[in-house]
C-alpha cells in the first residue's frame, strides 16, 4: 500500500516543483512524479557531452520571480548567480558589433542620439511591463463570475493604467500594445542592429516574426518579473534553479520521485482519484495537478472522453507550434569571434543584424521550412562557470526558425543539414570554429517534445498571443488552474501567466488549490 497523498503533481518541471513547494509549505502531503531522471523539465542542466554539463534547453533567466525566490528561500537551498546583469552582444555582418545592457547602455559604434532614443524606448516599454507585471502573480480575472478579488484586480489594472501611467502614457500603451515590434522600432530607431536586438527579444520561442501582430506584447511579457528586464545566469546552469526549488519543496515535506512517467490519470464517477505510472504503480489522491501542457494533459494523460466536447475542441485548437532548436557544440578551445572578447562570449550573443533579417528568417517557417539564415542566440557558459566542464567548453545556442512540422520531417539527414547551416552561420563570425568542434548535438522541436514532453516543442506550452493569454489561457472558462474535471488542476506554462522560467503558474495553481477552487 502506497503512502496517502493529498495532492499528486504529474511532472517535475520548475512550475510543478514551485507548486509542490507552496502546497507542502501549507501542510499538504504532496508527491511529485517526474518522467525523466532529473527534475526541472525544460530548466535542467544535463551532461550533454562526456564531462560537460550545460543547460539543456532554457539558458537565461529573464522573468525570474523574486517573490517566489524569497518565499521558497532559494538562496538557502543553493541558488547562486554567476551574473545578474548578463549583457547581450549583437554580431553584425559588417563587424560593427554592439554590446547592450538591460538599462540601454550601449558599447559600440552607435551615434549618441540613437543610444538616447534606444534608452527612451526601452524605458517606455519597461514602464508598461511593470504596469502589467502584477497580473502574473494573480489568477486571471474571472469575467464570468467575478469575486471581490477579481473586481479589485480589475480596478487595480484600470487604476495603474490611468493614474499610475497617466493619460498620455496610457494612450500610448493602448496604441502600441496590439502592434508589432517592427512598426514601433521603425518609428523610434534608425540603427539596424538595435532594431534587430529588439526584434529578437520579441520573437524568441514564438511562431512569429517582428512584423507579426502581438510582438510588442511578447516583448513586454519577457520583461516582467522582479528583474526589470535583467538577464540572470544561475551558477551550475538552469538545473540549479530547479534543484533549489526541489530542495526547498523536499525540506517542506514534499516527496519527489524521478523516472516515474505518469501514464494515465485515474477517473471514477467523473472525478480524479489518482494516477497510474507507466510501470503500473497506482497512486491515489483526490487532487492531481498536471505540469504537462494542456493538450498532453487532456488527450494523453486524462483522455478527452472525461471532458465535455466544447472544452476538448478548444484545447485541441490551442496553437503550440515550436520553432526553436537547441544546438550544443563541444569545443576543445575557445574559437576567435572576430571583434568579440571572451567576456562577451560568456554572456548572451545574438546573430541577426536587422529586423528584416529576423523577419526573413521567419518567412520559411510559415511554410514548414527551416530558415537558411537563422537567428541565433548563444553563449559559452563554461567560460564563467568552469565547474560545468572538466575540460574544454560548450557553446549552447538557441536557433530560430526551425518548425516542428518540417516539410519532409526531421530525418537524420535533415537534422545534419540544418546543423551544418547553424554551424556555418556561427562560423561566419568565427572562421576557426569548425576546428574547435569535437562533438555536436542538435535538438529539434521534435526532440524537445520527446525529451521534455511539451507538444510541438513549444517552450510556452501554447503560443503567446493575445487570444491565448490571461483569461483565455489555456482556454476561456478554464483559466483558473482548475480544469473542468473535479480534482484536476494545471500548473504549467500552459496556464496563466505562461512560459519562461518564472514559476508564477506553479505558485498561482497552488493558491487556487489551497483556496479550494473548482472550475
Amino acid at each position: 500500500m502506497t503512502k496517502a497523498y493529498d495532492i499528486i503533481i504529474a511532472g517535475g518541471g520548475h512550475n510543478g516543483l514551485v507548486c509542490a513547494a507552496y502546497l507542502a509549505k501549507a501542510g499538504k502531503k504532496v508527491l511529485v512524479l517526474e518522467k525523466n531522471d532529473i527534475v526541472g523539465g525544460a530548466a535542467i542542466t544535463k551532461e550533454v557531452f562526456p564531462g560537460k554539463s550545460v543547460s539543456l534547453c532554457a539558458q537565461f533567466l529573464h522573468q525570474f520571480n523574486t517573490r517566489i525566490a524569497d518565499d521558497l528561500k532559494l538562496s538557502e537551498f543553493g541558488l547562486e548567480f554567476i551574473d545578474t546583469d548578463c549583457r547581450t552582444s549583437l554580431l553584425s555582418n559588417d563587424g560593427r558589433h554592439l554590446t547592450v545592457s538591460f538599462d540601454g547602455q550601449v558599447e559600440g559604434d552607435v551615434a549618441e542620439d540613437e543610444v538616447k532614443a534606444f534608452q527612451i524606448l526601452i524605458t517606455r516599454l519597461q514602464e508598461f511591463s511593470e504596469t502589467l507585471g502584477f497580473l502574473a502573480d494573480i489568477p486571471p480575472i474571472d469575467i464570468f463570475d467575478p469575486d471581490m478579488q477579481d473586481k479589485l484586480s480589475a480596478l487595480k489594472l484600470g487604476w495603474k493604467l490611468r493614474f499610475g501611467l497617466g493619460a498620455e502614457k496610457m494612450s500610448d500603451f493602448l496604441r502600441i500594445v496590439g502592434m508589432n515590434i517592427y512598426d514601433l522600432i521603425n518609428e523610434e530607431l534608425e540603427d539596424d542592429r538595435l532594431k534587430a536586438l529588439l526584434s529578437v527579444d520579441s520573437v524568441l520561442g514564438t511562431h512569429a516574426g517582428p512584423r507579426s501582430p502581438g510582438t510588442i506584447l511578447t516583448y513586454l511579457y519577457r520583461q516582467i518579473g522582479g528583474g526589470k528586464g535583467r538577464t540572470l545566469v544561475p551558477k551550475g546552469g538552469m538545473g540549479a534553479v530547479s534543484k533549489a526549488i526541489a530542495a526547498s519543496a523536499q525540506a517542506k515535506g514534499a516527496d519527489i520521485l524521478t523516472g516515474m512517467h505518469v501514464r494515465e490519470v485515474l477517473i471514477d464517477n467523473c472525478r480524479v482519484v489518482g494516477l497510474r505510472t507507466s510501470c503500473g504503480t497506482v497512486y491515489n489522491a483526490p487532487i492531481v495537478v498536471s505540469n504537462a501542457d494542456p493538450k498532453t494533459t487532456v488527450f494523453d494523460m486524462v483522455g478527452s472522453r472525461h471532458f465535455e466536447a466544447d472544452f476538448v475542441h478548444r484545447i485541441n485548437t490551442i496553437r503550440m507550434r515550436g520553432n526553436s532548436c537547441k544546438l550544443h557544440l563541444s569545443l576543445n578551445s575557445i574559437p576567435e569571434f572576430s571583434g568579440l572578447g571572451s567576456e562577451a562570449l560568456a554572456g548572451r550573443v545574438v546573430i541577426a543584424d536587422s529586423a528584416d533579417y529576423v523577419e526573413n528568417s521567419f518567412n520559411p517557417a510559415k511554410y514548414n521550412e527551416w530558415s537558411s539564415s537563422p537567428v541565433i542566440e548563444f553563449s559559452i557558459p563554461t567560460l564563467n562557470d568552469p565547474h560545468l566542464a572538466e575540460n574544454g567548453h560548450v557553446l549552447s545556442a538557441t536557433i530560430q526558425y526551425a518548425p516542428y512540422s518540417l516539410k519532409g520531417g526531421w530525418t537524420d539527414e535533415a537534422k545534419e543539414a540544418f546543423k551544418n547551416i547553424c554551424i556555418d552561420t556561427l562560423s561566419r563570425f568565427a572562421p576557426s570554429l569548425k576546428d574547435s568542434i569535437e562533438q555536436s548535438l542538435l535538438l529539434t522541436p521534435v526532440d524537445l517534445e520527446n525529451e521534455i514532453g511539451m507538444q510541438g516543442g513549444n517552450w510556452h506550452h501554447g503560443e503567446f498571443t493575445l487570444d491565448q493569454m490571461l483569461m483565455m489561457r489555456p482556454v476561456p472558462l478554464a483559466s483558473r488552474y482548475a480544469l473542468p474535471l473535479d480534482g484536476l488542476f494545471l500548473c504549467g506554462a500552459g496556464a496563466h501567466p505562461g512560459g519562461g522560467v518564472m514559476g508564477s503558474a506553479g505558485r498561482n495553481a497552488a493558491n487556487a488549490i489551497l483556496r479550494g477552487d473548482k472550475s
Partner: protein, 402 residues
C-alpha cells in the same frame, strides 16, 4: 475519425427529390411544398383534415427521407454516444431505439433525435437538423468513424392505428411483437428494410428505413396492402397538428438549437424543455453539459415548458403568455393548434419560473384574422399535466387490432 457522404458539388444540385417524390406528386392536388434539408417535401397533398384523420383513425405515410442520419461505428461507439447524449446509453441494448437530446458544454440543447443501436458497436443517429460539425467536434479522442448517410437511406413514417395490420399484410412476419422503441430488420423485395416502432405522432406507428433503390417498391407495397384501410400519403401540416396534440417538441420551432443561437437566454436546457427524464446526471461518466446541468439542477431552471389548454377555439399561435388579463408578460407560445381528437385548443410554450405549475391558470392574448381583418381576444389557459393525447395502443404489444 473519418467522415464522408457529402456528394461532390452538392451545392450545385439545387433542390433534391426524395425517392418518393414522383409517387407523392401523383397524389398532389395542392402544389404546396417546402424545403427541408435540401429536399422538397409537401406541406399538404390533398386535404389537411383528411390527412390528419388518417394519422389518428387509419394509416398515414409521411416521407422522412430528409432527416439527418449519421452512422457511428467503432470500438468506442458506446462511449462516444454516452458522452454525446444526456441519457445513459449503457441501458440502450442492440435492437432498441432511444429518444434523447444532446447539449453543448453550457447544457443548452443542440437538438433532439432518435438513436438506433443497430449492433454492439454501431448506431444510427437521426435528427431534424444537420449534426456533422457536432459529431466532428465530439469525435476527438474516440476510436470511431461517423458517416453522413442522410442521402443513402430513404425513410417513411407510417403512423396510425391500422399500421400494424397493414405491415402484417405486406408480409412482415412478427411485426406485431415489436415493442415500442424496438428495432428489427425484415426481408423485403430481395433487400432488407429496417423497421422501428417509433414516430412523431404520439400514436401507434412505425418508421421504415430502406435503401433508395428499393424505396419505391416499399411505398407501393404499403399502398397495395393498405388500399382497403384508408392508407393516405400526408404532408407536414397534418403531422404538425398531430405532434402538437401529442405535446412533442420541434427543433427550430419550440426551441432554438444551441449551435445556431447567439442571443443570451434564447437557447434552452433539457430541464427548460421539460425533458428532465432524459438527463442522467448520475450515469457515472462525463457527458456534454453535465457540469452546467448539475448547477442548473441546484439553482433551478429559468423557464418552464408548459402544455396549455386554451379556452375558446382561436389558436394561440405566437401569443404572449401573461400572469393575468392585461398583466405581466411571463412567456410565449411556441406552437399551437386545434387538436381535433383531444377536442382541445392546445398550445405549447414557455413561461418564466416560477410560473406555470400544473393546474395553474395563465392568460394568452390571441391575435386572429377574420376575412383579412385582425382581431384579438384574451383567453384563459390551464397548464396541463402531460400530453393532450396519449392512446393506450401507442405502447400495447401486440397493438390492439381494430
Amino acid at each position: 475519425m473519418s467522415s464522408q457522404g457529402l456528394a461532390k458539388e452538392h451545392y450545385e444540385m439545387g433542390l433534391k427529390k426524395t425517392p418518393f417524390y414522383s409517387r407523392q406528386k401523383e397524389l398532389d392536388i395542392m402544389n404546396e411544398w417546402h424545403r427541408w434539408s435540401g429536399y422538397t417535401v409537401p406541406n399538404v397533398l390533398n386535404d389537411v383534415t383528411f390527412e390528419y384523420f388518417a394519422i389518428r383513425n387509419s394509416a398515414s405515410v409521411f416521407d422522412i427521407t430528409p432527416m439527418a442520419k449519421y452512422r457511428i461505428k467503432g470500438p468506442d461507439a458506446l462511449d462516444f454516444m454516452n458522452r454525446l447524449l444526456t441519457r445513459d446509453m449503457t441501458k440502450l441494448r442492440v435492437g432498441r431505439v432511444g429518444y434523447s437530446v444532446w447539449c453543448d458544454d453550457e447544457g443548452m440543447v443542440i437538438d433532439d433525435g432518435t438513436v438506433f443501436r443497430t449492433s454492439e458497436n454501431e448506431y444510427l443517429l437521426c435528427a431534424q437538423e444537420r449534426q456533422l460539425e457536432t459529431l466532428k467536434r465530439n469525435a476527438l479522442g474516440f476510436d470511431i468513424s461517423f458517416d453522413d448517410v442522410s442521402d443513402d437511406i430513404a425513410a417513411l413514417s407510417f403512423q396510425g392505428p391500422l399500421t400494424c395490420t397493414i405491415l402484417k399484410k405486406v408480409g412482415f412476419e412478427g411485426i406485431d411483437q415489436l415493442k415500442m422503441f424496438d428495432l428489427k430488420e425484415f426481408a423485403f423485395a430481395g433487400t432488407t428494410v429496417m423497421i422501428s416502432r417509433t414516430g412523431y405522432t404520439g400514436d401507434l406507428g412505425y418508421e421504415l428505413w430502406i435503401n433508395p433503390e428499393n424505396a419505391g417498391d416499399l411505398w407501393d407495397a404499403l399502398f397495395e396492402a393498405g388500399k382497403n384501410y384508408n392508407v393516405k400519403a400526408i404532408g407536414g401540416d397534418a403531422l404538425e397538428i398531430a405532434r402538437i396534440e401529442a405535446g412533442l417538441l420541434m427543433a427550430g420551432k419550440d426551441f432554438s438549437p444551441a449551435t445556431s443561437t447567439v442571443r443570451p437566454g434564447h437557447a434552452k436546457s433539457p430541464y427548460e424543455l421539460g425533458l428532465d427524464w432524459l438527463v442522467k446526471l448520475d450515469k457515472g461518466v462525463v457527458f456534454n453539459g453535465r457540469r452546467a446541468l448539475i448547477q442548473e439542477r441546484n439553482k433551478g431552471p429559468r423557464y418552464r415548458f408548459v402544455r396549455l389548454d386554451v379556452e375558446g377555439n382561436k389558436t394561440a399561435c405566437s401569443a404572449y403568455i401573461f400572469d393575468r388579463q392585461g398583466g405581466k408578460t411571463i412567456g410565449h407560445v411556441s406552437s399551437a393548434a386545434w387538436a381535433p381528437t383531444a377536442k382541445k385548443n392546445v398550445a405549447l410554450g414557455f413561461v418564466d419560473m416560477p410560473y406555470g405549475e400544473v393546474g395553474s391558470t395563465v392568460w394568452v392574448e390571441i391575435y386572429y384574422q377574420k376575412e383579412l381583418r385582425w382581431n384579438r381576444r384574451w383567453a384563459k389557459a390551464v397548464v396541463m399535466d402531460g400530453p393532450f393525447y396519449n392512446p393506450e395502443r401507442k405502447t400495447l404489444t401486440p397493438p390492439e387490432a381494430v
